[in-house]
Amino acid sequence: MTYIKFANQTFAQKAASLLNKRGFKTRIRRNPNPNHMEGCNYALYVSGDIFEAYDIISENFIPNFGVEHLGDEE
């Protein structure tokens, strides 16, 4: 599974709100694999091209911890 990581739910929601307006479907969960630098944080799952979604988020200056891929399920 691939997701975009955010420090908190606020930024995950802000990104989701923006992406929803652009036609993406999104889902917010806790980051299933946080590292020791980030601690608890949130994951935004996107249906569609996640890298396009990531570009939109970055162009709109929504702070994030980047895209992470976990496992080979997808």
Partner: protein
């Protein structure tokens, strides 16, 4: 009961506000913390309220901070942006929510401060009074937009421009103006806007907002759990977490969302227009009653929804009690604002404050005027 104490808190709360609070209490968990659906759902409620406030006040959503009231917001700003040796200027109409944190810092030897005299109906003189107090170490100018006692509207745009010109931070106490006056924070000279959620925004008590301009920096007020960067011992710099340690008031925030939505749909201008018409009418009627003093000399060119009066030499608390006996709720006394009463020389009696809200109608005001007439006539034999 006719409720005319909206400057203290708006009443009645809209049904949608109460229903949202109830729903949030019944079906939500701690927002921004857990990964389970109840928590995420609660986080969505918090975010949509943040987003709604951001849209109404022209701010970035993460720069909308939830507090418990306007007083807490003011404390966060005043104590979070000054350092030892700084100088602060406040106005002569401040509520204790702004005066007391400044006074506390003064007593602790952290800052010095001065009080700029507000001259009603003379914005230029008011701004000059602020300007004349600026020192090389002036860090912050903090003032109300509307006086909670007399309804005086301060020229905050002009004071803000003065602050920008001099490189001074500018904080506005919008306790009496939020919901009636329009703000566009990111396009204004306001660095910090402090608001209650439970007055003009029609939300529940126990809610407040602090809205930061895009460029504003502030130290955290309290530190603790934020649900983010949890392995770090230091308070995270990330917004809004930096200013929201501990569990937020979810039912209150859910109610506030509905209040904001209602204000947005009615429109601040329409609310102000209605409240102003009512206060203008009250003012003109009161001035026709023998023995009544209306403090309209403290009014500004722009109207607001607050007026103060007295009857003869009777203490305002007695008038407030008599109005209550006639099922009229208003606020008498000093309104937590010694500065304003000193400015208007009303320390001896205090004043009776009438603050109509959007839900008041003409019949409420007719009843008020009738009762004040009755009390004033009776006062002649006291």
């Amino acid at each position: 009961m006719i409720y005319l104490d909206n400057a203290a808190t708006s009443f009645p709360k809209p049904k949608c506000v109460l229903e949202a609070m109830c729903k949030a209490s019944l079906f939500s968990a701690n927002p921004g913390r857990g990964g389970h659906r109840l928590s995420v759902k609660a986080g969505e409620t918090v975010y949509k309220t943040r987003e709604k406030a951001a849209s109404i006040f022209g701010a970035d959503s993460e720069r909308v901070i939830f507090t418990k009231n306007c007083t807490e917001s003011l404390n966060m700003v005043i104590k979070g942006c000054v350092k030892k040796g700084d100088h602060v200027i406040i106005s002569s109409l401040e509520h204790n929510s702004l005066l007391r944190p400044v006074q506390k810092l003064f007593e602790q030897g952290v800052i010095t401060y001065d009080i700029a005299q507000v001259v009603p109906k003379n914005d230029e003189q008011t701004v000059m009074n602020f300007q004349s107090l600026i020192k090389p170490n002036t860090r912050l100018i903090a003032c109300c937009h509307v006086s909670n006692v007399f309804g005086t509207v301060l020229p905050i745009e002009k004071i803000g421009l003065l602050c920008r010109e001099k490189g001074i931070l500018f904080a506005v106490d919008a306790a009496q103006s939020a919901g009636t006056f329009r703000y566009d924070i990111n396009n204004s000279a306001i660095d910090f806007l402090c608001l209650p959620g439970h007055k003009g925004l029609l939300g529940p008590m126990g809610t407040g907002l602090l809205i930061l301009n895009q460029s504003s920096q502030l130290e955290s007020f309290i530190e603790g759990g934020t649900g983010s960067l949890s392995l770090e011992p230091s308070q995270p710099d990330v917004l809004p977490d930096k200013f929201e340690s501990g569990t937020v008031n979810l039912p209150g925030i859910a109610g506030l969302y509905e209040g904001l939505r209602m204000v947005e749909s009615i429109g601040c201008e329409n609310i102000l227009k209605k409240e102003s018409r009512l206060t203008e009418w009250i003012t003109s009627e009161l001035k026709n009653i023998n023995g009544v003093t209306v403090y309209d000399n403290m009014h500004s060119k722009t109207n607001s929804g607050v007026i103060s009066f007295n009857i003869g030499k009777i203490h305002s608390e007695q008038i407030g009690e008599l109005l209550d006996q006639n099922n009229i709720a208003c606020r008498a006394g000093y309104h937590c604002s010694a500065l304003a009463h000193k400015s208007a020389s009303t320390i001896a009696q205090g004043t009776v404050r009438i603050s109509p809200g959007f839900f008041n109608g003409i019949n409420d005001i007719k009843k008020l005027i009738f009762c004040i007439n009755k009390i004033a006539m009776r006062q002649k034999i006291w």
